[in-house]
Symmetry: C2
Subunit: 216 residues, 2 copies
DNA sequence: CAGACTATTCAACAAGCGTTGAATAATCAA
DNA sequence: TTGATTATTCAACGCTTGTTGAATAGTCTG
């Protein structure tokens, strides 16, 4: 019995590449592995996407706009709700993070792989400077200026260092390495995204307040 | 004029491998690149270390013991100084982090590369579970039990999630991607390790207190 | 100095790599 | 049904990879 709506091969290549790049990094994956994972011939990746590096780029571009939009929407929504005095630190961080939790919580493995891939490039000295800026700087700057309003006494550099810590905590959560499971001997599960974010939000918000609330 | 104490070639291979693995990951580096960086023939890596994977392991083993010892010593020192009631959260985190700052601050690039390599495996879904546990679990468990004493009301899972956030913030700092420089347009420098840790310690300590101090 | 052992290089291997041009199949417009 | 366009596979290329065995140089022991 033939499948009515088979996933197009072009899409399956992106899915396969996404999953494998997230697990093994750019150099740890061959086009033949990607093709095999997608059930297509190796030359098809070249036909649709060009060189290996272009395929890598295409994997990012597929979901980038959607992700940034939902995060910006979350920020604007919480700003609208907060009124003139602006949202609190917790509310801003919540808007920054919750769309990612939702993406990780969908049954769709694609989003999990995509976010692990983001974690991979953010932590990579090679890819980080090349790719993170063009993907997220505009978004991040908007969150940072919201944080500045919520923490009017903070120095700029304090805000940036705090954001750096937030970004690191988030990145490890996105990477989803399962190490917290081992360390806690089962008391925490990497797949329990809600628990991860429910802890990350007050943790980082308290950090911002402590470092940024008062001038030295 | 001949150099009196040339660095042995075996050591130079480790140095070169350390630097290249940290920048490009395991699969992003070839033995020929490593050999060229060390100024030796490609077969020499095999002679001294065996397979590529064994060289990778050897890079970790060279500095692991020294690093763990200095961190354990820092913990014991702060415990001795704190007396019977035990050190504070800040003091424990400081003991956990400062030895890394010192290692990054030495003029020696080797330690910087090594710590960036730790960041690479900690964030990698492939290497993380395979390598981090055997390198650091014993050390981490000792810090966690010290944190439990400093936060007697905390639930175990809260401590572990907070540690997860601490580990993430630290990891991004070790990776030293230079992204904070771009984002802050020069107000923060990734090479200003003291500033990084001076912000990270109160940030994460406040997070622990907030999440762990009181039961819900 | 002889000899043994270690360190290092040389040359080559089979396997796998990204990439390509031509051939075939599928889709769609007229 | 034709013809044109797109999608997909096939077969192969030149190159690089990790690894190895034999050859050479260096170092220490007696």
């Amino acid at each position: 019995m033939a499948e009515k709506n088979p996933i197009p091969k072009r899409e399956r290549i992106l899915d396969s590449a996404e999953a494998l790049f997230a697990e093994h990094g750019y150099d740890g994956v061959t086009l033949r592995q990607i093709a095999k994972g997608a059930g297509v011939d190796v030359a098809l990746a070249n036909y649709h996407f060009g060189k290996k590096l272009d395929l890598f780029q295409a994997v990012f571009e597929r979901r980038a706009a959607h992700l940034n939009e939902s995060r910006i929407e979350a920020l604007h929504a919480c700003q609208a709700k907060a009124g003139k005095k602006g949202p609190s630190v917790e509310q801003i961080i919540e808007a920054f993070l919750r769309p990612l939790e939702l993406a990780q919580e969908t049954g769709d493995d694609g989003w999990r792989h995509y976010l692990a891939l983001i974690a991979y490039i953010n932590n990579s000295p090679y890819w980080g400077p090349r790719m993170m800026s063009q993907l997220f700087d505009e978004l991040v700057q908007e969150f940072i200026s919201a944080l500045k309003k919520a923490l009017p006494k903070a120095r700029d550099e304090d805000i940036y260092w705090c954001y750096h810590n937030l970004s690191g905590a988030l990145t490890l959560t996105l990477a989803n390495t399962g190490r917290i499971d081992k360390l806690s001997r089962g008391k925490c599960s990497s797949d329990d995204f809600q628990a991860a974010y429910d802890h990350m939000i007050p943790f980082t918000a308290a950090g911002f307040r402590k470092v940024c609330a008062s001038r030295s």
